[in-house]
């Protein structure tokens, strides 16, 4: 008897599942047909032709509906301040569409902007989950993200490119993302490429600090590994010696054995381009390691945040941090220093916690401009062809953003020339408007 009833329940459960699955299936097939065929009854229209010609079809925004922009940034976990800062930049770009920063989104082509904020978790797993959520939503026009290169490389960039959704990263700096062999069709970034940053740090260490030996630590992420590799190559090319290249595990807390091993050679410089939590601990523990007493500590933009300074505590004094030169944005400097920063403080109740709010602001504006360029408004419905949108983004050239002039190349690097700065922590904080070193670097030269 009991067995029968439980079997019955199982069958019932399966039936329910089948029904739900069928319902979902219907739903998605409805939207795909709508998205690919375009209009419907008004045959032969311009919008229908454009949508039919586009391999990925169109995003349709019906009358009175909002344009959905996805964000895929790290908004949880130890690196949350990095992603939250970028997300603030994106929201501010939408806010500015009506000409003022007033805390309410402006309109684009007469439509409201709706955000779908996802978390990239600063990991491949997080990037996958978030990208799938965005890709599954047929109304996603474009995505600003990811924060971390590890969330993009082979994960978010691939998943979204496969769906024909443009993704613009404000802070992925890993060189691999725009290597010809790995670049995904719909991926762009407004962040500088670490080929520029790693080399700039190496030149700073060799020429300005007079360092002749250096050790590096990475945490296994494509960001850190790429950066330390470029640094090491440039440093050696300049005539310096790399004593040891070490690696740590994310979420570990005790790095004394790594540091003792590095301290055995007492290098002039220790370069550890990782993130806030582990970076803070390494800073503290390096100060307690005998062999590193005279070693200069240098980090990069993953640690250029209030979180890192807090995590490192008193040990942070004197540490050098590289990143985009916020003081030398060739773009609208008055606007950035004046209106933008004041509004940032008002809207989010604090100074920017990381360095990439300006890059995400520029990325969002790039996306808005491209939407304006390619969208077709027909009978109150907005049709945005996906491939045309991507092409418009890649065609961005000579556009003044606040981070400088945006010129996107074929591999999605929109900052083919960037100003990289090195800041020093003095008196418990770094002054983002007063770098100790700054250089203009170009991918082409």
């Amino acid at each position: 008897m009991r067995k029968n009833s439980s079997l019955g329940r199982l069958v019932l459960l399966l039936l329910v599942f089948a029904l739900v699955a069928a319902a979902c299936g219907d739903d998605s097939s409805d939207t795909t047909t709508a998205a690919t065929t375009g209009g419907g009854d008004d045959g032969g229209s311009a919008a229908e032709a454009a949508c039919d010609a586009d391999p990925f079809g169109c995003v349709e925004v019906g009358d009175g509906e909002a344009i959905t922009i996805g964000t895929l940034l790290v908004i949880s976990g130890p690196n949350a301040s990095l992603g939250q800062d970028s997300q603030n930049g994106v929201v501010m770009a939408a806010d500015k569409l009506d000409g003022t920063f007033d805390g309410t989104n402006g309109e684009l082509l007469g439509r409201a902007i709706a955000f779908n904020h996802q978390d990239d978790g600063c990991s491949a797993e997080g990037g996958q989950a978030g990208a799938q959520a965005l890709a599954a939503d047929p109304s996603t026009v474009g995505v600003i993200g990811t924060s971390c290169s590890s969330a993009a490389l082979g994960v978010a960039d691939t998943i979204l490119s496969d769906q024909g959704i443009a993704i613009i990263s404000p802070s992925n700096t890993g060189p691999a993302l725009t290597e010809a062999s790995q670049h995904q069709e719909f991926y762009l970034r407004t962040a500088h490429n670490d080929k520029l940053q790693g080399a700039a740090v190496a030149k700073f260490a060799y020429n300005e600090l007079g360092a002749r030996s250096a050790a590096t630590i990475h945490d296994g992420s494509p960001y850190a590994d790429g950066l330390q590799a470029v640094f090491a190559d440039t440093f050696e090319a300049l005539g310096g010696t790399i004593t040891v290249r070490e690696a740590i595990q994310v979420q570990e807390t005790d790095f004394t054995s790594v540091l003792t091993s590095i301290g055995a050679d007492s290098p002039d410089v220790l370069y550890f381009p990782i993130f806030a939590a582990e970076g803070g601990l390494i800073t503290q523990q390096a100060r307690q390691t005998d062999g590193l007493a005279d070693t200069t500590l240098i980090g990069s933009d993953g640690m250029l945040s209030a979180d890192y300074v807090a995590a490192a505590g008193d040990a942070v004094e004197g540490v050098y941090l590289s990143g985009p030169d916020l003081s030398a944005f060739t773009g609208d400097q008055d606007f950035y220093e004046g209106e933008f920063k004041t509004s940032y403080l008002e809207l989010w109740g604090g100074e920017p916690a990381a360095a990439f709010h300006a890059h995400s602001y520029d990325a969002a504006n790039m996306l808005f401009d491209a939407i304006k360029e390619v969208a077709i408004d027909e009978d109150g419905t907005l049709y945005i062809p996906r491939t045309a949108l991507k092409d418009a983004l890649f065609a961005t050239s000579g556009v003044q953003g606040i981070t400088g002039t945006l010129n996107c190349n074929d591999l999605g690097d929109c900052q083919s020339t960037a100003t990289i700065a090195v800041y020093q922590v003095v008196g418990g904080n770094y002054d983002s408007s007063n770098p100790v070193y700054s250089e203009v670097a170009s991918l082409d030269g």
Binding site: P78, Q251, D254, S257, T260, S261, Q284, G313
Partner: protein
């Protein structure tokens, strides 16, 4: 269906027993690992990359972090000794206490109390951390584990994993997702030289405090009435209750003691690492669990030995075994070494160093 499953399983087990091949492979494997370790270590020592002071400081460092593992491991081992379940949420019990004490520490640092009255301040921090951890551990037992006491063993195990995530994200909601640095306590700065060996003051304090706490616990379990009833419940719950022991109260006491030690371990942990975040309980929790298994789960002596061994292996292992073998970035392989040793120990001593059967379960 239900009737055939056990027979296939037991016949499979029999077949394995008949083939000694598996055993031989394991032994060959472990001999080659031991050979690699010895060869790597000799090469490292010959190359002379590290000075004697370096080795000393690595060793002290291993002892210090091992002491923290040991204290957390006791919480796993006590609960296992009585309920035969792994309380995977114990790492979060550890996090809850020290993270809450962080806010007290910040307040103390703000008004200068932390450095004007450091001993009193540390005592209050310890008290806050231990109280919160005890509270969380007891509530966890009452709400998550007690209703499942009669359930099959896997059920409370899965519940524990769920409780672990629940606690992590509850505290994320309460305290935020940022990393926070513990305020600096000035009297803990600097170094001591003990018998010619240099160590950071914090490391010395952590090691001594852990030893003291361990001795107190040992005396408690061996001498007090509650300790005796804990052992009795571990032996046989039903008979213990027939003898007039309040089983529920004994189990609550066990969770409370584990929680108190985890709370204390939390404060010692921030002496060493100076940082709190809501995910901080996970990795130390897993390592303490490993330490408990390494030492022989169910035994408090085993937990202490396992913790120390694991700490030392992590600190000394990569530099000693791998540097000589010219493996790049040896320290990234820290967990590989620690867990590799766990596997080796379990091959040769399946019950850990102090097998649960040899010593009276705590």
């Amino acid at each position: 269906m239900a009737d055939t499953a056990p027979t296939t399983q037991s016949s499979r087990r029999l077949r394995f027993e008949r083939i000694p091949m598996r055993r031989i492979i394991l032994i060959v494997l472990s001999i080659s690992i031991i050979y690699g370790v010895v060869a790597g270590s000799t090469a490292t020592l010959r190359a002379g990359v590290f000075t004697a002071e370096d080795w000393q400081s690595l060793f002290i460092n291993g002892l210090a972090r091992g002491s923290v593992y040991a204290l957390i491991a006791i919480g796993y081992t006590l609960v296992y000794g009585i309920l035969f379940m792994i309380n995977f949420a114990h790492g979060e019990v550890f996090m809850a206490g020290v993270y809450t004490a962080y806010f007290v520490a910040v307040a103390f640092a703000g008004n200068g109390f932390l450095n004007s009255n450091p001993l009193l301040a540390i005592a209050i921090l310890l008290l806050v951390s231990m109280t919160v951890s005890v509270f969380i551990a007891v509530v966890l037992e009452r709400l998550a584990y007690r209703p499942l006491r009669g359930a099959p063993r896997l059920v409370p195990l899965i519940t524990a994993i769920g409780a672990s995530f629940f606690l992590q994200y509850t505290f994320r909601g309460l305290y935020g997702a940022n990393v926070r640095a513990y305020p600096n306590i000035e009297i803990l700065d600097g170094k001591w030289t003990v018998f010619g060996i240099q160590m950071l003051k914090t490391q010395g304090i952590v090691i001594v405090a852990a030893v003291v706490l361990w001795i107190l616990l040992y005396l408690f379990v061996a001498r007090t009435k509650t300790g005796r009833s804990m052992r009795a419940v571990g032996e046989d719950r039903e008979i213990a209750s027939l003898m007039g022991i309040n089983v529920d109260r004994t189990i609550v006491a066990t969770f409370a003691i584990g929680g108190a030690l985890a709370g204390a371990a939390g404060i010692l942990y921030v002496f060493l690492f100076n940082q709190v975040i809501f995910t901080m309980g996970f990795l130390p929790g897993i390592k303490a669990f490993t330490a408990a298994v390494l030492g022989g789960i169910g035994s408090i002596t085993g937990a202490a030995l396992g913790g120390l061994l694991l700490g030392i292996l992590e600190a000394v292992g990569p530099n000693l075994f791998l540097t000589g073998a010219e493996i790049p970035s040896p320290n990234q392989l820290q967990p590989v070494i620690a867990f590799g040793v766990l596997v080796l120990v379990l091959i040769f001593l399946p019950g850990g160093f102090v097998g649960a059967s040899e010593e009276k379960r705590a």
